[in-house]
Symmetry: C2
Subunit: 212 residues, 2 copies
Amino acid sequence: MTLPGLRERKKQRTRDELTRVALELFTAQGYERTTVDEIVDAVEVSQRTFFRYFSSKEEVAFAVQQMVEERFVDALGQRPPGEGPFDAMRNAVLSGWDTIGDAIIEVVPVELYLRTFQMIESTPALLAVHLRRSTEMEETIAGIIAEREGLDLDADPRPRIAVAAFSGVMRVTGQLWGRGTDQSLEAIRALTEEYLDHLGPALAPSWRDDRS
Amino acid sequence: MTLPGLRERKKQRTRDELTRVALELFTAQGYERTTVDEIVDAVEVSQRTFFRYFSSKEEVAFAVQQMVEERFVDALGQRPPGEGPFDAMRNAVLSGWDTIGDAIIEVVPVELYLRTFQMIESTPALLAVHLRRSTEMEETIAGIIAEREGLDLDADPRPRIAVAAFSGVMRVTGQLWGRGTDQSLEAIRALTEEYLDHLGPALAPSWRDDRS
DNA sequence: TGTCAATTGTCAGTGACTGTCACTAGCCTC
DNA sequence: GAGGCTAGTGACAGTCACTGACAATTGACA
């Protein structure tokens, strides 16, 4: 493995710097109140260069999220075949939270990532994009689940349904965490775990028999 | 009940016309390829007027959807108390499809609404907004469910979880319908019904025991 | 009918984003 | 290690969504 040339390293540095500066400005003063010009002035590149790295101002807000999601997909693909679909997704998510630092530390500190996550949840324009990206990921995940279970994605609706329900719960936990007071890494991990445990019971035909 | 004055009627007419023309242009030539100027030229109002009726170009794309959603919320509130949460949501949705014409015919034909729905699903920028709007509605619905069941929304996670799972399935059906070949009203109604029936079984711990 | 207030139009400006073209700087060959 | 090649960048002009301010118009109502 030859390490990449100067040109390649320079590009990576510019991209990382744009990402870091953008997230810092977004979290500090708000997404809408930050202009692309502010970002590029701080990094000392032209606006045109920014738009060569990121197709929109929104995209840079998800640069780190993108990395985290790729790791989740990898982790899911490596869960033991014995695990049921739900356990596989659940464990992939939880192990992702446990090792998040490894994935992103070269670009931004974990703490900035968590603040970015909150900013996304509380900025309508970004929340919208976040949700769309999530559904795109669902399709990927459904494919992995279908393969694990040896099912045809277009003949059997269960993979998509299960993933949709699972993601729905993930989304709710994300929102509640963003609104809550404890915004630590441990808090969102615990919330994720708790809410996933509730999914089965919540779908019982009547909640009146069994108050879990 | 006095019928509204001329001024009021004129406003309604302008709003409806902007909506209809916008949806026609969007569905005919695509959302991004349609400029606000085209819309206002066709209706013969100034651009400024457009933005007084709709806070953004996106908003006009959801004007009809908005009406449909309000009807769903009403219908849900009127389901008999004996129905469990899932049945209530399910029946409210299905009865909504059965009476959709009543709700929107004064603004646009049902057929244009269906085409708009597809356009939203296939336009990334609009899909994102659609998903965000859906989650906002989920919060409303969770409140209604919690009240029906006599639960505290913040103490008991089940209403939000159930609604999230339910909405996830609704979303998947919407997407599949948009991609499929039969884009009739009957098709989306049938798909909705079928997929909701599958939700319970899909959440069983293992799918290997019981192939429904 | 004349006054008031709601509605609309005009105009100037901002910010995200794109196409084009000239220029700079790694890279690679001889 | 000089020179050509090309990926990457900057400068500039233009489009489009959207906003604030103020002037013009037009229902409403005494």
